[in-house]
Amino acid sequence: MRMYEISKEPIEIQAVIDKVVQREAGAITTFIGTVRELTHGKKTLFLIYEAYEAMAVKKLEQIGAEIEECWAGSQVAITHRVGRLDITDIAVVIAVSTPHRADAYEANRYAIERIKEIVPIWKKEHWEDGESWMGNQLETVSYPSGKPEEGDLDE
């Protein structure tokens, strides 16, 4: 069973959840990331997601390993979609099971925040009046040494 996947096809939510079902779990949290129409008042028509697939899978595995180390007894499954996505389509599904519910919520939140930091996936927004790759529009992120530093990844 592949717990971490990049998918060109629509994500089947239940299939991701099923991967983390375990007898020791008292909770499963599911995060479903969807394509939003309005961002700061600007209307998105559709998105294109692109991934460096081999590395993206490795980085998702790394996130899973971090979670399993931090939250005892947790199991994680993540599928991220690539290709063209329309408004309301599902971009990512994260399922985390843990013995107790608080950990399941926390660990799931950790997973999505980490995806936004270290997993090589990019989205291109298409609007009525143009298109742009997202991620550095404000140029608020820079990596003087060429890779993320400790502090960049600890949030």
Binding site: G33, Y49, E50, A51, Y52, A54, M55, A56, K58, H80, A91, V92, I112, I115, K116, E117, I118, V119, P120, I121, W122, K123, K124, W133, M134, G135, N136, E139, V141, S142, Y143, P144, S145, G146, K147, P148
Partner: protein, 77 residues
């Protein structure tokens, strides 16, 4: 030889998904500078680098056969 991969806005700038070139013995920074010069790559100071699918720093030396990828700030999720 080395396969050098580009993504997102860098792919648009280079006009190719990857280039095959000889980067063996160069540092990541040296290769970056060379490509910036040649392709006028924008915002390279925000771009991370991966060698063989793992993040690498600017002073790392590239070996023959390594797969290099330039990783603009990510926007998945």
């Amino acid at each position: 030889m080395n396969k050098v991969l580009f993504f997102a806005h860098l792919r648009d700038a280079v006009g190719a998904e990857y280039l095959t070139l000889d980067a063996g013995g160069k540092t990541v920074a040296e290769l970056k500078d060379e490509l910036v010069e040649k392709y006028d790559l924008p915002r390279m100071e925000t771009v991370m680098t991966a060698i063989n699918e793992e993040f690498a720093s600017n002073d790392e030396v590239i070996r023959d056969g390594d797969e290099i990828a330039f990783i603009p700030p990510v926007s998945g999720g």
